[in-house]
């Protein structure tokens, strides 16, 4: 009966009280640990629980021409999505909206499948809907509370097929790019520049996304926006001001012979700012940007004429006769000749060099002529001798010094590097020390042989001739770009003037006489690039007014047979730029003498001119 002993009972009551206090203390300690010691961590967790960051996309910057005319901008687009409580009610919504939406069965199935995956989120139904559909849907809003119409900007290129190679285009970030982590602040749906200025200046155009927090519940349903103080507004992308003249660009696109391949570059020789850059055939980025219609895209990519290829900066052509000015300038610079200097062998339609006979394009010969006349008539025999006088080493070294062996550094992506031997080592390596002779100098001197230049590089060379100080400005499309040390032709003002007057003579009396326009002195040089794959490519590079050049234009048309047929295009562009619309409206009649380069001599195993239009 000891368990009923009052004394023992008192002891147990005491124990019981201790146990109760113990339980209280243990529980209190557990709460102390979580609520006081761990409070900060759990507070953060509770905030993370309920607040979801939502990206506020930064609007992409516009691209405008020198006068602010818009080349690329954002256009309001609309997308429809639906929030539904169940798959059935989504089906009811779709039925009710069917007269407006007119979905096919595949789109409907996609919507239902997406709903099944994430029932709590709006189901995207259609992207990029026309505005009249938006208003038709708005009328239905009363009956469909789950209707969400969102403004999703899409990119629009006002000039479409006129300037795609300059402006470029954008497309949505891909899954693999998202995962690679190489693109800063990548997010779903981000538009990335894929070509042209859109790609080159992507960082500046993109801006900085903002962020906003929404409060959600455990089911992920959005309840409300979190406070203003947590919102970080987006910083819109910069507007890119280009040096382009959109009207001139449009004129170029319209004037360029249809069905032809080729390119035109118009540049201000004083600054290097490009006024127009056109590559044919062209394409309209609007046809696939935005909705990204796969069909249009596939068509453009599979086109044998490769419209996406920018022939102004990516295609390499033998520089042909326009190159003779580079040789002349180099010789004048070294003081080897004057503008009136004559060569020891007069042109008799060709010349003997050791065991080979090098022909002039004019089999009748030009006789004993000065450098001025040699430029005017594009005499090959004169330049063969000038090249020899300059020597191969000097020719390679000086041309490389002028940057003719390197890309111009234009602010466009994927510019091709010219093919040009950096030194005689090149020949040794390629053909062996005894595999080649000094005869390569003759070919190089008339713009053939191992020398392929991009159009923009040749235009830069002529900009050097046209530039008041004789420096070669870096071609650029965006105002303020292209600064830095500029290579100088290193010619005296007199020599420069001599070369310009010789070029004027080309247009006035020489090979480009058909390009003459009254009251406007145009200086320029035609060229014919040998093409082993078909008809020759035609060159014409010119600047005007010759006395105080404001514009230098270079053009190449593939399979144009000879440069003279390119001249009218270039002169019309120049006239349009300098004289305005009225003159060109009258049309320019052109008559041109033939100017075809001599057949290249097979002096080397592989010196036939390449068709370098492929990258």
């Amino acid at each position: 009966m000891t368990w009923r002993d009052p004394h023992q009972l008192g002891g147990r009551a005491h124990t019981a009280r201790i146990v109760i206090v113990g339980v209280f203390l243990v529980l209190a300690a557990a709460f102390f640990r979580v609520q006081v010691l761990g409070s900060e961590r759990f507070e953060v967790q509770s905030v993370e629980n309920r607040l979801r960051p939502v990206t506020l996309p930064a609007p992409r910057g516009d691209i405008v021409d020198r006068l602010g005319r818009v080349l690329a901008e954002n256009e309001p687009g609309y997308s429809v999505s639906l929030v539904a409580a169940s798959a059935e009610s989504l089906g009811v919504y779709l039925d009710r909206l069917d007269p407006v939406l007119q979905l096919d069965s595949a789109q409907r199935a996609t919507a239902l499948r997406r709903y099944g995956r994430r029932p709590s989120e709006p189901v995207p139904i259609l992207q990029d809907i026309p505005f009249d559909m938006v208003s038709a849907l708005e009328e239905q809003r009363v009956w469909t509370p789950g209707l969400v119409i969102e403004a999703t900007p899409r990119r629009r290129y006002a000039y479409g097929a006129v300037a795609p190679h300059v402006v470029g285009y954008v497309s949505e970030i891909t899954e693999s790019e998202l995962q690679s982590g190489t693109i800063p602040s990548a997010r779903m749906g981000l538009l990335l520049g894929r070509s042209g200025l859109e790609e080159q200046y992507d960082d500046r155009l993109r801006g900085q996304d903002g962020v906003q927090f929404i409060e959600v519940d455990a089911m992920g349903r959005t309840l409300r926006l979190a406070g203003e103080e947590t919102t970080l507004p987006p910083i819109p992308g910069e507007t890119i001001h280009t040096t382009l003249d959109a009207e001139l660009q449009q004129f170029v696109a319209e004037t360029f012979p249809e069905e032809s391949r080729g390119a035109v570059v118009a540049m201000d020789p004083r600054t290097g700012g490009l006024l127009a850059l056109y590559s044919a055939p062209s394409y309209d980025p609007n046809s696939f940007v935005g909705g990204f219609e796969a069909e249009q895209w596939a068509q453009i990519v599979s086109d044998p004429d490769q419209p996406l290829f920018n022939r102004a900066i990516q295609a390499r052509y033998p520089p042909a006769s326009p190159w003779k000015l580079a040789v002349a300038a180099l010789a004048l610079r070294r003081g080897l000749v004057t503008i009136d200097a004559r060569m020891s062998i007069p042109c008799a339609g060709g010349m003997q060099y050791y065991n080979r006979y090098f022909r002039c394009w004019d089999a009748d010969g030009h006789g004993d002529i000065s450098l001025r006349e040699a430029i005017q008539y594009s005499c090959d025999v004169y330049f063969y001798q000038l090249g020899l006088k300059l020597t191969l080493n000097n020719l390679l070294h000086d041309a490389a010094e002028l940057g003719l062996a390197l890309p111009t550094g234009i602010d466009l992506p994927s510019e091709a590097t010219p093919v040009f031997p950096p030194s005689t080592e090149y020949y040794n390596r390629r053909y062996g020390p005894r595999g080649w002779t000094n005869a390569v100098t003759l070919n190089l001197a008339i713009g053939q042989g191992e020398n392929d230049q991009t159009l923009v590089n040749v235009v830069r060379l002529y900009a050097g001739l046209a530039n008041p100080e004789g420096v070669m400005p870096t071609p650029h499309l965006v105002q303020g770009a292209g600064a830095g040390d500029l290579p100088s032709l290193g010619l005296s003002a007199a020599s420069l003037q001599d070369l310009r007057s010789a070029l004027i003579a080309v247009v006035d009396r020489g090979t480009a006489a058909g390009a003459r326009i009254a009251d406007l002195h145009i200086a320029g040089k035609t060229g014919t690039a040998q093409n082993s794959h078909g008809e020759d490519h035609g060159w014409f590079v010119a600047f005007a007014p010759a006395e105080d050049p404001e514009i230098v234009v270079g053009a190449i048309i593939e399979f144009a047979e000879h440069g003279s047929s390119v001249a009218p295009l270039v002169t019309r562009i120049i006239a349009r730029h300098i004289l305005g619309e009225d003159v060109t409206a009258a049309g320019v009649r052109v008559e041109l003498p033939a100017d075809s380069a001599p057949e290249p001599l097979p002096i080397l195993p592989a010196t036939t001119a390449r068709d370098s239009t492929r990258p």
Binding site: G10, F31, Q45, D217, A218
Partner: protein, 412 residues
């Protein structure tokens, strides 16, 4: 006033009810309204029913109660059997059979009534014993009284509620003077069961148990039974584990490591701790808890109602609530200490054991000390049967207190 209802008991109960209802109201205040928004009103109705029945219990003489105890116990067992046969589930435990339904209306959970029946029956049995309980075999009747409802509730299956019977049993045996070593032996199979998952832990436990057995020197047969039961439990543990429903296994697993699967099993524990932890010292303010408002806190009006206290009233609010519970339990100890008869004393302690077990298991669960067992917190959690059970139990305790003060005798 010596002849009225025990003032301390009433005050403690009313204080807890007031806080409990306030929190239950707040638990319903969510941004996306749920059914929980109005449960406090239905709970008020149950408070009315419970108060009425508590008054009835207060009017019942302990002698009468002692006399009808076997009948009550029998009724309780019968209802449990009936529940197993025709019971239905509800809420998160929809797959179990814990509700008795008449004509489609759920009228109550017989397990709650059985708790009171076991308290009364155990009190009657223990009070009727002349001798000390010195051997394990003396506990056979106690074992029968507890294990029948334990097994029947466990079969529902409702492991949490079944464990409450053990809590009640240990409290009352302790009060009946059973030696702590004996209580240890009694509890040892359970410990074996839990430790069996680690061979080292279980081995250590068996060695310790053997040493204690050798030191205390119970009867040889008892010692053998305890030892063999422990060994058997250790061996059977794996089989029993496999016998558990997946949700029960998950609950135990996620108790050990809530981060295993934070979206599924561990969700409850993590979100409850986040709610409590983010409450900090002073809380986010009444009805302002974001974890609760935005439905991150699961079962915020039943199992995890105490997490709402932690989130909205902070550590200070938690301390106050725990102190109120401690005070009420102290009052019950005091009543049991001063009771004029052993039956009454044991009933008061049994009610205390009931409340204490619920308090430890429920609050321990919300703060991550114990695995989730899904039993309600007295006066806070929504649930009619349990509120009525608690109030009736306290009514009985009030009667015990009244008896002792009427006799003017300050204790046994």
């Amino acid at each position: 006033m010596t002849r009225g209802i025990d003032g301390r008991l009433v005050l403690g109960t009313l204080a807890l009810l007031a806080v409990g209802f306030t929190i239950l109201y707040s638990a319903g205040q969510t941004d996306v309204p749920t059914l929980a928004a109005t449960v406090w009103r239905r709970q008020l109705m149950w408070l009315g029913v419970g108060s009425g029945l508590a008054l009835v219990a207060f009017r019942v003489s302990p002698r009468v109660l002692e006399w009808v105890a076997p009948g009550l116990f029998g009724l309780g067992v019968l209802l449990l059997i009936l529940t197993l046969a025709i019971g239905t589930g509800a809420g998160t435990a929809a797959g179990t059979k814990s509700w008795l339904t008449i004509g489609g209306v759920r009228v109550g959970q017989p397990a709650e009534f059985a708790k009171l029946a076991v308290i009364v029956m155990l009190a009657r049995h223990l009070a009727g014993r002349r001798d000390d309980i010195t051997g394990l075999f003396d506990l056979l009747p106690v074992g029968v009284i507890v294990s029948v409802p334990f097994v029947l509730v466990g079969l529902q299956p409702d492991l949490g509620s079944a464990l409450v019977f053990l809590g009640i049993m240990f409290t009352m045996l302790f009060w009946a003077g059973v030696a702590p070593s004996m209580l240890l032996f009694l509890a040892s199979p359970l410990v074996s069961l839990l430790l069996a998952f680690s061979t080292v832990a279980w081995g250590t436990w068996i060695v310790l148990l053997t040493l204690v057995l050798l030191w205390v020197r119970p009867f040889v047969a008892e010692g053998l039974v305890v030892w063999l039961t422990n060994v058997t439990m250790g061996v059977l543990a794996l089989e029993l584990w496999k016998g558990l429903a997946p949700y029960q296994q998950n609950r135990l697993l996620s108790f050990l490591n809530p981060e295993v699967d934070p979206r599924a099993t561990g969700w409850h524990i993590i979100q409850s701790k986040v709610a409590i932890g983010s409450g900090g010292l002073l809380g986010k303010g009444f009805t302002e808890g974001t974890q609760k408002r935005l439905a991150f806190l699961p079962e915020q009006h039943t199992d995890f109602v105490f997490s709402v206290v932690g989130e909205e009233l902070g550590f200070v609010g938690v301390l106050i609530c725990l102190a109120l519970f401690a005070a009420l339990l102290m009052v019950l100890v005091s009543i049991a200490r001063k009771a004029t008869d052993w039956f009454g004393s044991l009933v008061a302690v049994g009610v205390g054991g009931l409340l204490l077990t619920h308090l430890i298991v429920n609050v321990g669960m919300t703060v991550g000390l114990l695995p989730i067992m899904g039993i309600p917190l007295p006066f806070f959690s929504y649930g009619g049967s349990f509120l009525v059970t608690c109030l009736v139990g306290l009514g009985l305790a009030a009667r015990v207190s009244w008896e002792s003060r009427r006799s003017g005798y300050g204790g046994l």
